[in-house]
């Protein structure tokens, strides 16, 4: 295994992986409580010299919407949002995500915040990137207790979008909607395939040789730390301070 330079943090690696996934898109939107995807989207925009448009839902500065809180969803319905990010309290091997609860819905053991826009956006955004930092049998389950949004739909269901990948602190899976399965595309530096298998409750495909995830280049790291991090601090001050050491400023929105 290629060890990553010791000074690369998990959050930086994941942001870099996600930024590569964003690729050549027109419009990337980032929902609530998603600091790593926000980092990735801003990084992609810096590298693309202003392209894609990035809309951070909780931001003022990185938000082009002027028709209220519904505009993101309308815009996605129009086919104008190319990339979105979703997570889940549980994610299963068919790409189903659970943002609601563990246990019976009417008598849950654990309650998560709720489905947010997932029960819609998962169907209509072409590239939905799943991310879940904690990669464990608790989070990557065989079958979710509650389907906030399904990974795949029957052929007669209107669906122009869905999951393309799942990024965790251990590895990077791609998703194949025809096979309804994830495929292990790469394992992050300092992690192993065995470890991924051990910590994943669902079955997945994998090549004979699983490559190692390419760590961010020094140029990407510099861009992330010096240019992206200060922008991020508007929306995620805690995260920006913790990961990038960007001091809390007396920012007024």
């Amino acid at each position: 295994m290629n060890g990553a330079p010791p000074d690369i943090r998990d959050e930086e690696l994941l942001s870099s992986v996600i930024a590569d996934l964003i690729g050549d898109s027109r419009h990337v939107a980032v929902g609530n409580a998603s600091p790593i995807p926000a980092t990735a989207a801003l990084l992609a925009r810096e590298r693309g010299k202003g392209k894609p448009y990035v809309s951070l839902l909780q931001s003022r500065k990185h938000n082009f919407f002027t028709d209220g809180a519904r505009e993101l969803f309308d815009c996605a319905g129009q086919g104008r949002i190319d990339v979105f990010f979703l997570s889940g309290g549980q994610i299963d091997g068919e790409g189903n995500i659970n943002l609601v609860s563990i246990g019976e819905y009417d008598n849950p053991k654990v309650r998560f915040p709720g489905s947010f826009g997932s029960s819609y956006l998962y169907y209509v955004v072409p590239k939905v990137i799943l991310f879940r930092v904690e990669h464990s049998r608790r989070t990557l389950v065989e079958k979710v207790d509650f389907i906030s949004a399904p990974g795949v739909s029957a052929p007669n269901v209107f669906r122009t979008g869905g999951p393309v990948a799942l990024v965790t602190n251990r590895c990077f899976f791609s998703f194949d909607p025809k096979r309804k399965r994830f495929r292990l595309d790469s394992v992050h530096p300092e992690h192993t395939v065995e470890e991924v298998i051990e910590n994943t409750a669902f079955d997945f495909d994998r090549p004979a040789q699983v490559p190692t995830t390419t760590p961010p280049s020094p140029a990407t790291l510099k861009l992330m730390r010096e240019t992206v991090a200060p922008q991020l601090a508007e929306v995620y001050p805690q995260f920006a301070a913790q990961v990038f050491g960007v001091g809390k400023t007396a920012f007024t929105d």
């Binding site: 002027t66 969803f73 819905y105 489905s115 947010f116 029960s119 819609y120 906030s148 007669n156 805690q238």
Partner: protein
């Protein structure tokens, strides 16, 4: 003409026990001063709709025992973690939860805005959100060929409660880009507004301000509440009070701590 109330409590009179109350999401200008006043008054049995999500506001109202039914897409303190009173109420079964997804709430409010009985929405098919919403219907689209689509019944609140940067003496309210506040007011029977300040003039007379203005004929009452969204942010005016939100997250983690929070910040209101 809307009442311009001198006391926030007077402006809140239209919000009765048991009413269907719609409030905006955590970053759109949340009427927190009004929320504290409602808790102080001891409001009960609210059917609370948070469009489409909530943070401190829903958690406070739930913890203080004001909510019977909650209809929203998520409640969370964001960077400060889960919403503890919400999570406990759900796991203990003390409130009735109607889980939604953001665009469904927007569409259901727009149905009421347009005076139609329902709105269609893509997505949702095959989700458990749909499965547990017996009030939503799955039909074969009359324009499709074996094309299932969800219909959402119109959601017509008794009262919309919002906070905005300013209003004028005719009750016109400047809401800027937060246009879901207009949809809420259009959809609701009555609208109650708190504002940072009174605008000295008529907002509709200036074409630039008019573009971001909710006309007064939708508005029942207005009260002035400077920093009325505190500790949540008011877009383009002030940021969230992160220290206070962190303090809330800590205190509200336990029943006792939450009771202390109410005592200190809601009933007594020692800090601001």
């Amino acid at each position: 003409m809307p009442v311009i109330a001198s006391q926030i409590e007077d402006a809140l009179a239209p919000i009765k026990d048991g009413c269907l109350l719609v409030v905006p999401r955590e970053v759109s200008g949340v009427p927190m001063a009004a929320t504290r006043a409602l808790i102080k008054r001891g409001i009960k049995r609210l059917h609370l709709v948070a469009l489409p999500t909530s943070s401190l506001q829903a958690d406070l109202l739930i913890g203080a025992g004001c909510v019977e039914t909650l209809e929203t897409s998520a409640v969370s303190l964001g960077e400060f973690g889960p919403a503890p009173r919400f999570s406990e109420a759900i796991t203990k079964g003390t409130i009735r939860m109607k889980d939604a997804t953001c665009p469904a709430l927007h569409a259901a409010l727009q149905a009421a805005e347009k005076g139609v009985p329902f709105m269609p929405l893509r997505g949702l098919v095959g989700s458990d959100v749909l499965k547990f919403r017996k009030d939503w219907k799955l039909i074969d689209s009359p324009f499709g060929d074996d094309d299932p689509i969800v219909l959402l019944p119109a959601l017509k609140p008794d009262v919309a409660l919002i906070h905005a940067p300013m209003a004028d003496r005719n009750g016109n309210v400047w809401i800027g880009r937060q246009r879901e506040l207009a949809t809420m007011a259009h959809a609701a029977i009555k609208t109650v507004v708190t504002v940072e300040k009174l605008y000295d003039g008529i907002l509709l007379d200036d074409p630039v301000l008019a573009a971001g203005t909710l006309p007064g004929f939708y508005v029942e009452s207005v009260a002035i509440a400077p920093r009325g969204a505190w500790p949540l942010p008011l877009p383009d005016h002030y940021a969230a009070d992160a220290d206070h939100l962190a303090e809330y997250a800590r205190m509200a983690a336990t029943t006792e701590g939450f009771a202390d929070y109410l005592e200190r910040y809601v009933y007594e209101r020692r800090a601001a």
